[in-house]
């Protein structure tokens, strides 16, 4: 997903919606290869800290990113809801560990707004847009930027207080 995709003339776009803390995030479904349960990963020394390790996905070795850690939070605790979203970035596959995958949504292109300067503590450059569905705000992530930037991030969620301390 590139930063100007909100401006691309398409009527409806499909997104995979997932949660981290209680923020709702979205990824363009075209980037998502599959969604799997969390697999045991192998740690890779000297990998960036948010890379939890590598897993074997039917014979391919792919890195898995703990999105909570990328957002400057504690590592994700694995629950029944936790999922790994396998996405394609450039020509590589990689997994994103998220609290839960909730649904696949069509969002009217009209309802996607350019990223605000800062949302939930994330700068505009990490966000491709914000989708508005009913009262919900869906943060459409720019995965490539998110994972190639070295900047330390800090997700600020309204629910962070109670969630972050568990």
């Amino acid at each position: 997903m590139n930063t100007d995709s909100y401006a691309v003339a398409r009527l409806m776009m499909q997104f995979v919606i997932f949660n981290i803390i209680n923020e709702e995030f979205a990824i363009d479904i075209k980037k998502v290869k599959e969604i799997i349960r969390v697999k045991k990963s192998t740690r890779v020394p000297q990998a960036p800290s948010f890379i939890q390790g590598v897993i074997n996905l039917r014979g391919d070795v792919i890195p898995v990113v703990d999105l909570r850690k990328r957002f400057g939070l504690d590592a994700t605790e694995i629950t029944n809801e936790t999922r790994t979203v396998i996405v394609e970035m450039r020509d590589d596959l990689l997994g994103l560990i998220v609290d839960a995958v909730t649904e696949v949504l069509r969002i009217d292109e009209e309802e996607i707004e350019p990223p605000p300067k800062n949302i939930a503590g994330l700068k505009a450059e990490y966000i491709s847009g914000v989708g508005k569905v009913d009262e919900r705000l869906l943060i459409i992530l720019n995965i490539e930027k998110l994972l190639t930037s070295e900047e330390r991030l800090k997700l600020e969620s309204k629910d962070l207080g109670k969630e972050g301390s568990r």
Binding site: S41, T42, R43, V44, Q46, I55, G59, V61, L93
Partner: protein, 651 residues
Amino acid sequence: MGGQEEYRGLFFSEAREYLQILSNYALQLEKNGDKEILAEMFRAAHSLKGMSSTIGFHDISLLTHVMEDLLEKLRSEELTMTTEIADLFFECVEHLEALLTLTELGEEGYVDEELLQRLSMASNTPEEKDIKVHTGLKVTLKPNTPMKSVRAYMILSVLEGMGDIKECVPPIHDIEEERFDTSFIVYIQTEFDIDEIISRLIAIGDVENVEPIIHEEIPVLTTNGDKDKKESLNSRNGTVKRGRHVEKFVRVEAHRLDKMMNLVGELVINRTTLIQVGKPLASRELEGALEELGRIIQTLQNSVMEMRMVPIKQVFDQFPRMVRKLSNEKGKKIELVIEGETTELDRSIVNQISDPMVHLIRNSVDHGIESPQERRNAKKDETGLITLSACHEGGYIFIRISDNGRGMNPIHLKEVAIKKGVITKEEASRLTDEESLELVFRAGLSTAEEVTDISGRGVGMDVVRSVLEALNGSISVKTKEGQGTTFEMRLPLTLAIVEGLLVKVDDNIYVVPIESIRENIVMSTQTIKRIQGNPVILVRNELIPILSLPRFFGEEDKNFTAFSETDSEHVPLKEISLMILESGSKKVAIPVDEFIGQQEIVIKSLGGLLRDIPGIAGATILGDGHVAPILDANTLVHWGDLHVQEGVDSR
């Protein structure tokens, strides 16, 4: 053969050279019909024809064939040069250019029938004028025709009786060997009416159908952008595709072969899993079946590997020209001898050894071979000799680059290395001649700005070595002052699957290519010595630095924290297992908790995000489905080397 794809690059670069020749000479042709020019053009057209028909670009072959005919007639003075003909050649060159570009883009370029016709007309000698026309015919035999090649012989005989056969698709020798499915195409120059030809062919037994090949549209000669090209071609494909033939070679995209290799890798892994799962059952039948499975996988792996093999010729072929050019520049006389160019190796390796070889050969020309004067003074033949050879030996491929030039002097090398600050005087004094030669592979031995005859050898040699080591290969040098130098590269036959040793360090499993392991030893911690606080061991009079893997990776080493302490008293007394890795002539000893075992491993990339982690060369999937990192011996050894150097210096 599966390697056809590999030749493409070479084909296009060479084809363009010939095209350049044709284009240059076509210019001069207009001025005069010089015989030498005609001969040059004829040769270029002839070469292009041969190349393109070999690789299967039949439209290019067809066009160059007709050009060749025309040139031949001009050369033999059956025809005289006219402005029209010169213009026609220009048109051909442009058209060839367009065809090449399209073909290179992976599109199917079709030869312009109308241009062919005009060429044919032009090449008709005056008495033939206006009677011969160029025709393409697609002949289809009935399904299950017995002795197809004899049928084809009958068909071709009839056609030969009616005109000149210019080109067959597939080529005529393939048709003779029955390497076609049910149809083939013949391009013929004839005065007969096409219907007449067809009716005569139809009368031959087992001929199902004969149809003229019609290219409905002139292939794109005008440059209206790639997009337009593609569209106009796509719209044509439906009608013209029928004219395509079945080749004896199946051209396969390289990535499909890679995928197949991966799948073989999966099988290797799965077999390992089965062996592990089956162990507790202690079933002889299962063991037997697994052994059989192993044999089958091995055979499959070998055949897939064979498919990926390409002759090293495609790398070697660039060198004669390069050596000629370089030696002219340098005012040297050099003969290049190439041996073993049919030696095959994995395409992924071929792609990567080209640059190192260019470097080595360039060095031989620049610094190895002396000037003619210098050689005469040394009572050597003033023409220097560079020999390039490749061969298979015991599971490896050896590529040797030798010159009979001035050779290298280890003492000079040391002096240069000291001057450049690569080593200290003390270090230098300890180096044997052999070790001194290894200095050429050290970074910083020389700089590009200040190339001397000896130190110039060092430019980029460190890079050459690391490329080879990344390929699980190695490079060594032998030299004799005044007589010459030989660089020998050793490469594995394939990259994808290697023997690996599984080791456990701090609960992590790592895999090390067997190739990099010198030996595994068990030693008492008592024998650990220290140089400037850095632990080393003495193995057969050789000091080898000990490297804690966790510490290398910037983590805490639970078992070997003691190594970091200067005070050897604190090292707990116990036996430790050490794995000694080797790269070049350097070694490093890595403490491991457990040697788990040896198995075939499939090397996988860690992907973009994790590509450049020092010490990690990739990953593999173990029998239990888990992933294990593969250690990069080269980096680890280099680290150890730095440390022992430091230590030795300050001792």
